[in-house]
Amino acid sequence: MPPVINEATCTGCGICAHICPTDVFNRGPRGAIPLVRYPDECWHCNACLIDCPELQFGAIELRIPLPLMLLHVGAEFDAVGYPAPRDGVTSTASPLGQAQPGQAARSATPEAVARGDGLRWHRLPRVGQRRSPDDATIPLRPTKVNGEKGEVHHGSETH
């Protein structure tokens, strides 16, 4: 369930399995594709995606389980505070990307993902690549790049 690994593009670097705060993965031998062994114990923190060096090739994604869907309401709910007559439901949650009427689908198509639309908030910025929403009004100080992307520091381990 929660993290889903794509065996075609995962290189088996093991970073996700090492850094997961709740020990969701099986840490197999070096080079092996990690097994999502304890999916019920995912905290949905996204750390495994943020640190995956192959994320842009879709090596790992996070599937949010249905009970965690965000309950939200749109225009049909306004002013009156209850659903429009023909609707009959109070939530328009559509967890996997079908656009609601009157809304442009912003990110769910594969083309959009390939272009990087909808990924703008977190996929790119890492140490040394900070971005603010408006670089013109929020000047960021230059920062140094701390080490290789996605590097795991085994150095401080005991073994």
Partner: protein, 554 residues
């Protein structure tokens, strides 16, 4: 299970924010330091993927009169649980830690200046420095290893060992591999920095136990270990509840720039109608149970409403959410076409967890046991989240090292009867073929906590019954728990820790015979002025629990 042995001057339990800061300062004092971290320190704990507000006093921004800021803290939701001298010491050192972080490469001035934005009442001083912390753990772990700190990842600590009232070491289970390895650490001082206690009460959605606002691998180890070792816990009777998106438990409410509105779109509180990044809606901070109250009264649901928020402020908010580590939420909203310009998101009140409830510390960060220190979320008489962990971690680590210098040799931790007892217990859990899973025990605990020491009603009869059931559960769990590898043994031990935290809650909730804040006693439905300035502590002695009242320090 035959234990592996490691020696050090200072053992830091938990490689979170407080733990890493403690380790660094201990190392700067010349101590040999080991950090034992349950997961991997680079991404562990509640600060794993970032934070964006750092509680801080900066004279050049706030003016030289610190008492104004002290008052602001004490008036806030967290202030009621502070010993004021700890607040003062924290504020005095908070800017130094912010400057350290800034220099190490954590972006403490994303706008170019020291900027206090949001999270405030109209017209009052702002005390939350807005920063960009998404890579804070990467920076802190690097700084720690630069100072010679040795981090052992995948080593959850289960017990501190105390001899004649002084700490001599700790027990851990190495869980890196399939087979657990018992590990014995001999240390002159121990700093506990294991974060909050989650999974004590039912999660935001049934069946998804790890759906918690704070890191679900933080399970009250510091409180439980300290309690079993005889240290005092304080303020345990007060439940602490966060609010956030319904069913998708996330911390970071203060980063949302919106107004809480009722179903008809009317603001629920008096503070703002058109939210800005300078001033979000602080209603839910003042009226802690807003979302639950609205729902129960039938006037709900209540929504986080960002429709009046200016486009530039919305962008700023999303950037803040990224920096505080809430990228899973952002991505989910994008995939589900939730557009905050048009859609309102329902919020809820989450069930209690232990933050700012736990180990009582003094001005050195030391508990009532010599050589045993605590910092960050598991401290009971102070709380300031990320900054609290940074500042008090630093203080505790320095003092732990100073103490270690005075202790001539490490004690004989291996001779403690506790080592033999835990070895036997863990071996039994591992060798049972049939029995209860840790999940059974954890769910059983959650139902007892919510029904008998819950947020809605507490009374002598309910609490007494609940305490009896809890102790039965502990006995049954010890007799029947089974685990088949290192991971499930770790979860079993976490559950036992949580049961001990639960016991301390029941005992103190029974003793506080009044209603105060979220501690609601139906048999004492009033606040007793004589108890207003009193803190209640609990500690173990010869197997029994002792509660004591003391004045809150002014």
């Amino acid at each position: 299970m035959d234990p592996r042995r490691i020696d050090c001057d200072v053992l830091v339990v938990g490689g979170g924010i407080a733990g890493l800061m403690a380790a660094m300062n201990a190392a700067e004092h010349g101590a040999r330091v080991i950090v034992a971290e349950k997961a991997h320190a680079r991404r562990s704990g509640s600060g794993a993927t970032g934070n964006d507000h750092f509680f801080c006093y900066i004279p050049e921004v706030h003016g030289d009169d610190m008492s104004v800021i002290v008052r602001e803290v004490l008036d806030s939701m967290i202030g009621g649980f502070h010993d004021t001298p700890l607040t003062v010491k924290f504020l005095e050192q908070s800017f130094d830690r912010a400057k350290d972080w800034d220099q190490w490469g954590i972006n403490m001035r994303p706008t170019g200046t020291w900027a206090f934005i949001g999270h405030a009442f109209p017209g009052r001083p702002r005390i939350w420095l807005k920063y960009a912390g998404s890579d804070q753990k990467e920076v802190l772990t690097k700084q720690a290893s630069k100072r010679g700190v040795r981090t052992i990842n995948f080593l959850p600590i289960t017990d501190v060992i105390v001899e004649d009232g002084e700490v001599v070491g700790a027990i851990g289970i190495h869980v890196r591999k399939e087979e657990p390895e018992l590990t014995l650490i001999r240390a002159k001082s121990v700093v506990l920095g294991t974060g909050t206690a989650n999974r004590l009460y039912p999660a935001a959605s049934p069946g998804f136990m790890f759906n918690t606002a704070f890191c679900s691998a933080c399970t009250g180890a510091a409180q439980a270990m300290a309690y079993r070792a005889g240290a005092k816990l304080v303020n345990m009777e007060f439940p602490n509840m966060h609010a956030g998106p319904k069913y998708f438990a996330r911390a970071g409410k203060a980063t949302w720039i919106g107004v809480v509105t009722d179903p008809g779109g009317r603001p629920v509180g008096p503070f703002v109608e058109k939210p800005t990044k300078e001033l979000g809606d602080i209603t839910a901070d003042v009226w802690n149970s807003l979302f639950a109250d609205m729902h129960k009264s039938g006037r709900g649901p209540a929504y986080m409403d960002c429709r009046e928020t200016a486009e530039s402020d919305l962008e700023y908010m999303m950037w803040g959410m990224k920096e505080e580590g809430n990228t899973a939420l952002i991505e989910y909203m994008e995939a589900a076409n939730i557009d905050l310009r048009k859609n309102r998101v329902e919020f809820m009140q989450y069930t209690p967890h232990l933050i700012g409830r736990g180990v009582e510390i003094d001005l050195n960060g030391e508990s009532s046991i010599k050589g045993l220190y605590a910092a960050g979320d598991p401290v009971g008489n102070f709380r300031a989240d990320i900054a609290g962990a940074a500042v008090w971690g630093w203080i505790a680590g320095g003092n732990a090292a100073i103490r270690a210098r005075k202790v001539r040799s490490v004690g004989n931790a291996e001779d403690s009867p506790l080592v033999a007892e835990r070895t036997r217990q863990f071996s039994e859990i591992l060798s049972r073929k049939n029995g209860a899973t840790w999940q059974e025990a954890n769910f059983a605990l959650q139902q007892i906590m919510s029904d008998y020491a819950g947020m809605d009603v507490r009374s002598e009869t309910l609490l007494k019954a609940g305490l009896k059931y809890l102790r039965d559960l502990r006995r049954n769990a010890l007799d029947t728990l089974r685990a088949d590898n290192a991971h499930t043994l770790m979860r079993a031990v976490e559950t036992l820790d949580l049961i001990d935290c639960g016991e301390a809650i029941f005992i103190t909730a029974l003793e506080r015979r009044e209603t105060r804040g979220p501690h609601t006693r139906s048999d004492f439905p009033f606040s007793n002025p004589l108890l207003g300035n009193k803190f209640l502590t609990v500690r173990k002695e010869n197997g029994g629990a002792i509660t004591e009242w003391r004045d809150k320090l002014k």
